[in-house]
């Protein structure tokens, strides 16, 4: 297992260099620059333009800019935002817990509903449940997030008044951030009603962000289960006289889980994309919204630093998924 982890870690080095390169050049490939956007409709004189470009160091040759940026990265300096003038690292980790909290809730929501739905659909193949579940999953998968979110807000917050419209917690609650996770902080605050308020604010964004992963996981679980259910050892298990529940839950599901875990891992990327829209609509102070704002402002350091940090996190998650894989399936960790 140790060697396996080392090999995986070794692979991360070239990936990290690649990501730093891509992050650096990606934002510079976009037309325009931060100085022009700062000036807006007013326009800017060539002298002033040159002065500001120089001040930010954007007048240096690209390779030089890259070397400075990469050296800083290696020293753990992710740069300073042009717009807020604050260190990217601080900015990022102020907002990251909000995104993480929402993403974890969305994944739990998707797995808790998606895996059982997929299993039942596979076991009761071609039943009404199977057809309904899979049709619903198809609809969920194709749902435009923006529209779906607004619809839920209008119905549940506007018409029924069951959930708050947006935000992370009622404005009445004002307590220090300890972890940045509102569910935990609200409990720590010891204020009556704070935790309930945080939960009620999480419901709609969780559903919206979790919808697509839910659909994907349900469909993936179903097809993986169908494949496994046709295997010889399932027939053997049945023939041994094991209860149908034991056959499905222990013998079939465990083997069907490998592709499902991969899918869940891959959904992290989908979650990041979904987070941009979900965070915008629900006024959720996370990194999705922040990245988009930074891109629009051509805040080069923020985009570069943000992308590298996100990449590091995704790489970390993938590493964990790989290790889980190894745990679930010993064949993989012994491969050379």
């Amino acid at each position: 297992m140790f060697g396996f982890i080392l090999r995986r870690l070794g692979l991360l080095i070239p990936t990290f260099i690649g990501v730093s390169l891509v992050a650096f050049f990606f934002i510079r490939l976009l037309p325009g620059d931060p100085v022009l956007l700062l000036a807006g409709e007013r326009g800017i004189s060539p002298e002033r333009y040159a002065e500001l470009m120089h001040r930010f160091g954007f007048d240096l040759p690209l390779w030089k800019q890259f070397i400075y940026y990469f050296t800083d990265l290696l020293h753990g300096d992710f740069g300073t935002s042009i717009s807020t003038k604050k260190p990217i690292f601080t900015e990022f980790f102020t907002l990251f817990p909000a995104t993480l909290e929402l993403s974890i809730c969305a994944v739990i929501f998707a797995v808790v509903l998606g895996v059982p739905a997929g299993v039942i659909a596979a076991v009761k193949r071609n039943s009404w449940f199977d057809h309904t579940a899979m049709a619903t999953a198809l609809v969920g998968y194709s749902m435009p997030i923006f529209w779906w979110a607004l619809l839920l807000i209008i119905v549940f917050s506007g018409m029924l008044g069951w959930t708050p419209v947006s935000g992370r917690i009622s404005l009445l609650f004002f307590f220090p951030k300890v972890t940045g996770f509102m569910l935990i902080d609200s409990l720590l605050s010891g204020k009556a009603g704070a935790f309930q308020s945080a939960v009620s604010h999480l419901i709609l964004p969780t559903i919206v962000l979790g919808t697509i992963p839910l659909a994907v996981i349900a469909r993936q679980t179903r097809s993986a289960m169908l494949e496994v259910l046709g295997e010889d050892y399932i027939r053997t298990a049945k023939a041994k006289g094991l209860s149908p529940f034991r056959v499905v839950a222990v013998h079939a599901l465990r083997n069907a889980l490998i592709p499902v875990i991969t899918t869940i891992g891959l959904q992290i990327g989908v979650l990041m994309a979904g987070a941009i829209l979900t965070e915008t609509i629900f006024s959720w102070p996370g990194i999705g919204k922040w990245m988009v704002d930074s891109i629009f402002r051509r805040d080069y350091p923020a985009v570069q630093g943000g992308l590298v940090l996100i990449a590091l996190i995704v790489m970390g998650v993938n590493l964990v998924v790989d290790m889980l894989y190894g745990l679930v399936n010993p064949k993989i960790r012994h491969q050379r």
């Binding site: 037309p31 325009g32 607004l150 419209v165 300890v178 102070p285 629009f296």
Partner: protein, 530 residues
């Protein structure tokens, strides 16, 4: 740990206030996050709404709901005969905010004024570079060239010497970038090596003092008890940052906030019919226009420009693009601005006359570009749609149009190119309520290759607006600007298209809110019904 204790203390403070009988909390669903809390390095209205408006005061102020300049931290001022020396007499006994992070030991005085301006003006000032040196408005309003010196005469007198007479100066000093910061606070931060805090934890003399900012989520302020203009009627002011316009509407309806900015034009009608909501509106201080590049053929010929103006059906544009929430423009300045010349006749919508005039100018089979902005602005919510309507209008007079668009930054860059082809959709929102801020900035000779997108340098017009900026008598200035608008219409460097209407939806409980013609959102003087 320090942040935490500060927050804890602030929490207790707020909790204490909440415990007190009838603490009034006003929640504003703002549209975005401020970039920082020092207004001077920035140019965005969103940042000003959260920084300069609640937290700071200026030497002069705009009277609420108008563009009139009234005394602020300067109680009065004298202007020299030749209009180049302004002597400001400062208000005495003005207190700076006492916060968790700063306790002032002295009142506001001339040192604070000198500090607030000098840091933007003097490249050698230790504070010049603290926020990247991007003093956008100071340079944008041409202050480096206008200001010769800023001197302290005594603790309560400041002398501002200009290089030439400049009538809009008093209005400039009421703008956000001219907010007065505490020198004592800045000195303390510098001594502790915590300069960036000047932009994060603000201290001012304004109606509200800063309590806490949770990035991208909530900003909290409380009324400043010792405000020089008197304590506010509301106790707490909260900005709930809500980027999506439809969600802001839902929040307002659900009572999660009392006021919101920038509704979608499509939502205005529903809001109008809602019993719990009052919808205030005001003609925005802006103009959306189509600028011909008057340096390039055939647009250097005034007949061509006039003909193209006559080909545009503005009414259809107001209906389709603004969904009725705007009005047709005939002048380059909006009708709410003083010196607006209402006697001017707009070029009529007359495709036949347009065809004739084009033939007269010897233009046949003209094909041109119309540039459509990729972003939505109050003065042009949907430039693409507008360009399509203009394309159809021009087709009616035999002019073929290719619509071009670039990503915003690239659009801004290319729009400044003097050899740009065709006509460009653009617009402007006023900064200080002075006609100079439209006419000289957008159409003066010095703006060619920059903010003057028509690259139009007309001697007669330029002389009029230059002269108007140098005299201080309002009647005389009015006459000069009115004449300038006559020249503008005759020469037609733009097709003036529209002025938008600003809508501000709010709960019926809001009392005495005034829509700011300059487009900002300020809550001094506002009250909430019990």
């Amino acid at each position: 740990m320090k942040t935490m204790s500060r927050l804890l203390a602030a929490t207790m403070l707020v909790a204490g206030l909440a415990g007190a009988a009838h603490a009034k909390t006003f929640v504003y669903c703002s549209e975005g996050s401020p970039e920082g809390f020092d207004p001077a390095p920035y140019a965005a209205g969103t940042t000003f709404d959260a920084s300069s408006k609640p937290v700071y005061s200026r030497l002069t102020e705009f009277e609420r709901g108008t563009t009139n300049v009234i005394p602020g931290l300067a109680e009065s001022w004298d202007i020299s005969e030749d209009g180049t020396v302004y002597t400001f007499h400062l208000r005495k006994g003005v207190k700076f905010h006492t916060t968790e992070y700063f306790t002032p030991t002295r009142d506001f005085n001339a040192d604070d004024v000198i500090f607030s301006f000098q840091r933007q003006n003097d490249k050698n000032d230790p504070w010049y570079a603290y926020a990247g040196g991007t003093w956008e408005y100071w340079t944008g309003m041409d202050m480096p060239n206008l200001v010769k010196s800023i001197e302290k005469v005594d603790d309560y007198t400041v002398k501002l010497t200009l290089t030439a007479a400049n009538a809009p100066m008093l209005a400039n000093l009421a703008m956000d970038f001219a907010s007065i910061l505490s020198k004592e606070y800045a000195d303390k931060l510098a001594a502790e090596g915590k300069q960036p805090d000047l932009n994060q934890l603000p201290v001012g003399t304004g109606p509200f003092q800063f309590v806490a900012y949770e990035k991208d989520a909530v900003i909290r302020y409380q009324a400043f008890a010792d405000y020089w203009g008197g304590k506010q009627k509301i106790d707490d002011l909260v900005f709930a940052i809500t980027p999506d316009a439809s969600v802001r509407v839902q929040k307002l309806k659900a009572g999660e906030c009392q006021l919101m900015p920038y509704p979608n034009p499509a939502d205005v009608e529903t809001l109008q019919s809602d019993d719990s909501i009052q919808l205030m509106s005001q003609a925005g201080l802006n103009v959306g226009y189509l600028a011909y590049n008057t340096m390039m053929k055939p647009f250097d010929d005034v007949r061509v420009r006039k003909a193209l103006n006559m080909a545009i059906n503005k009414k259809a544009i107001i209906d389709a693009v603004f969904q009725g929430t705007g009005q047709e423009a005939k002048n380059p300045i909006p009708p709410t601005m003083w010196s607006y010349n209402d006697n001017i006749q707009d070029d009529p919508y007359d495709p036949e006359a347009a065809k004739k005039l084009l033939a007269e100018a010897g233009v046949k089979d003209l094909s041109m570009k119309v540039w459509a902005m990729p972003v939505s602005r109050p003065y042009n919510p949907n430039a693409r749609r507008m360009a399509e309507l203009i394309q159809a209008d021009y087709a009616n007079v035999g002019v073929k149009v290719e619509i071009v668009s670039y990503e915003w930054a690239e659009y801004l860059k290319r729009s400044q190119d003097k050899e740009r082809d065709g006509a460009l959709l653009m617009g402007w929102t006023g900064d200080n309520g002075d006609p100079d801020n439209f006419l000289a900035v957008l159409l003066g000779c010095s703006g060619v290759g920059g903010s003057n997108r028509a690259n139009w340098c007309n001697e007669e017009f330029n002389n009029l607006v230059t002269k108007a900026a140098a005299v201080s008598d309002i009647a005389e200035r009015t006459k000069l600007y009115e004449d300038a608008q006559v020249v503008f219409k005759k020469e037609a460097p733009w097709a003036t298209i529209a002025h938008s209407t600003t809508y501000v939806p709010m709960s019926k409980a809001v009392i005495d809110y005034k829509v700011d013609p300059l487009g900002s959102h300020r809550f001094d003087g506002v009250d909430l019904a019990e």
